[in-house]
């Protein structure tokens, strides 16, 4: 088990290091950073002076160790757009994105999982077919279209504008969480179907365990194991979805910051946000792996 934890940790650190290296190489070789800072008609001496000041005349590995060392000490660079440190700009927006993302995840779990479980228990009923249709609908619905539809309906029916930081988080969160809700419902359904037909369930039935107790005691814990992975994996989809959703609802979060920074080519800001996403995802995957150890005795044994 110690070996399992160690190998996961090493893999996570290696993944992060490779990501940092790739980001460094792409930024370094996509253009001349010194030339990008000065006006286009600046003489070559001025560009060289900037390059020396930024350490661009050093060998590449010196620049690389400097870059990684800077990251480790919390020196992430400055946004050319605002002049502030990139992490300050990010931290100012983070609460909005966390509010949106956590609400979306809570909605997806609170609706998707029970609905999928009920569909499995009432397999073949009209409700089951409805849940399956809903999951296909949620998968194919682009979140920008769903968001715009909600804005339109709210404006026409209720005469209110959904958007900006004063508006309710519920509508953007529903937009962001819709796809995850559909996939949770579908996955829970197949996971529960698999467990309620398992031999241990028939054994429990033969022992005279009542239906309800069979579900809660025997089916639910086994069906929950793959769901942990699914929730961990849905983080990537939530991060990706928040970029679009925040744009649609003018939600002042990190996703909107990323799109704006890309459009204005604020490279320091963009690279910081990319590294933050990579770090979050690697950490989340690590947590899922460790959670597995806690809830699945089979892995602990091996």
């Amino acid at each position: 088990m110690i070996g399992y934890i160690l190998s996961r940790l090493i893999r996570a650190v290696a993944t992060l290091l490779i990501t940092v290296t790739l980001v460094f190489l792409f930024i370094r070789f996509s253009g001349d950073p010194a030339a990008a800072l000065v006006p286009p008609d600046a003489p070559q001496e001025v560009i060289d002076q900037y390059a020396r000041a930024m350490g661009l005349d050093q060998p590449i590995w010196v620049q690389y160790t400097g870059y990684v060392g800077g990251l480790l000490q919390g020196d992430f660079g400055f946004s050319i757009h605002t002049g502030l440190a990139v992490e300050e700009v990010f931290l100012a927006r983070l609460p909005h994105t966390l509010e949106l993302g956590l609400t979306a995840l809570a909605m997806a779990i609170a609706i998707g999982i029970p609905v999928g479980a009920i569909a499995a228990i009432r397999r073949g009923s009209a409700l089951d077919r409805f849940v399956m249709a809903f999951s296909v609908f949620a998968f194919a619905m682009p979140n920008f279209l769903f968001g715009l539809l909600m804005i339109l309906i709210a404006a026409l029916v209720f005469g209110t504008f959904l958007g900006g930081d004063s508006a309710s988080v519920l509508w953007p969160a529903l937009t962001l969480g819709l796809a995850a809700m559909g996939s949770f419902a579908r996955f829970t359904r197949s996971s529960v179907l698999e467990t309620i037909n398992a031999p241990y369930m028939r054994a429990a039935e033969a022992r005279g365990v009542p239906f309800r107790l069979r579900l809660i005691r025997h089916a639910a814990p086994n069906a929950a194991i793959p769901l942990v992975t699914l929730i961990g994996l849905s983080l990537g989809a939530l991060v990706a979805g928040s970029v679009v959703t925040e744009q649609v609802f003018a939600w002042p979060g990190v996703g909107q910051l990323l799109v704006r920074s890309v459009a204005t080519r604020d490279l320091a800001q963009v690279q910081f946000l990319v590294l933050v996403v990579a770090f979050t995802m690697v950490l989340a995957n690590l947590l899922v792996d460790f959670l597995y150890l806690l809830i699945d005795p089979r892995i602990r044994a091996s």
Partner: protein
């Protein structure tokens, strides 16, 4: 008994899948021949015909803020979306499958590098990678196509690596190797056809995701750039006039939704037929 085998060999196509196939066929025909439906080009502006609603004389689907015919724009948008979806999905499928097979065939360092690359890609949503690249490089259609093509390559690589490792253990590979076949011949002529089903199933899962990625990036204004257009880009341009000119966002939006829905329904059905162990309805 014969009835059962016949039913298994050719199961009836459900009505929903037939409708989905019909929509996809209609969409392809619309993209290929739609320009015959309108005399206007997709870039022709007309200042006298700005923001006409659908049903206006000469403009059956209305016009945008610059008086361009929405029907003509939707046809061009459909063409671009179709090309990006198919070429993009193919790039990811071929790249990922080849890397997966290579990793399993060579083992050792090659495999370690490819598995590390899979881990890195899995920790970064493709839209974030695409945004990072678009911040550094000038947006061109080729770059955009390549970025969209990266969508999901790591899934193919992971699946094909697993399947190749399994095939390596099987008798037929040992037999062919004993006959003196070269590795390229073993893996491309014999192993690949045997595990192609897996990539094909993944292709149908990825195709709607690629369509949604392209339209989302174009909607953000960071995908297909004017003068070209795509369904997402038309929506992006019409967004600010949602209340006054709904047709500019809702018509392309409805096409994207129906297309993604149809393709994923056909994909689900194909997956059930090609791979009974992955049956979504168990």
């Amino acid at each position: 008994m014969t009835d059962v085998t016949a039913a298994r060999a050719r199961p009836a196509i459900p009505l929903s899948v037939k409708l989905a196939m019909g929509f996809v066929a209609l969409f392809v025909l619309f993209a290929l021949f739609g320009h015959a439906l309108t005399p206007h080009g997709f870039r022709d502006t007309s200042l006298f015909d700005r923001l006409k609603p659908p049903g206006t004389e000469g403009y059956p689907l209305g016009t945008d803020a610059r008086g361009r015919d929405l029907l003509a724009r939707l046809v061009t948008g459909a063409q671009i979306t179709l090309v990006v979806a198919i070429v993009g999905t193919l790039i990811g499928a071929i790249l990922g499958s080849l890397l997966g097979i290579l990793a399993a065939a060579r083992r050792g360092k090659t495999e370690a590098v490819i598995v590390a690359a899979i881990d890195v890609q899995a920790s970064l949503p493709i839209i974030i990678v695409a945004l990072f690249m678009l911040a550094m490089f000038d947006n061109s259609f080729t770059l955009f196509l390549l970025l969209v093509g990266l969508n999901g390559w790591e899934v193919y690589a992971r699946l094909m690596r697993g399947a190749t490792l399994q095939a390596k253990e099987s008798g037929y590979v040992t037999a062919i190797r004993a006959l003196g076949a070269s590795p390229a011949r073993i893996y491309l002529r014999h192993v690949l056809p045997n595990i192609l089903n897996i990539a094909l199933v993944q292709f149908t899962v990825n195709l709607p995701l690629t369509i949604l990625l392209e339209t989302a990036l174009s909607f953000l204004g960071l995908g297909v750039q004017p003068p070209l257009t795509s369904l997402g880009q038309i929506m992006s341009e019409g967004r600010d006039r949602l209340m006054t000119a709904w047709w500019l966002t809702l018509l392309p939006g409805a096409i994207i939704f129906c297309l993604a829905l149809s393709v994923s329904m056909i994909g689900d059905w194909l997956r059930d037929r090609l791979d009974p162990t992955l049956r979504s309805e168990r």
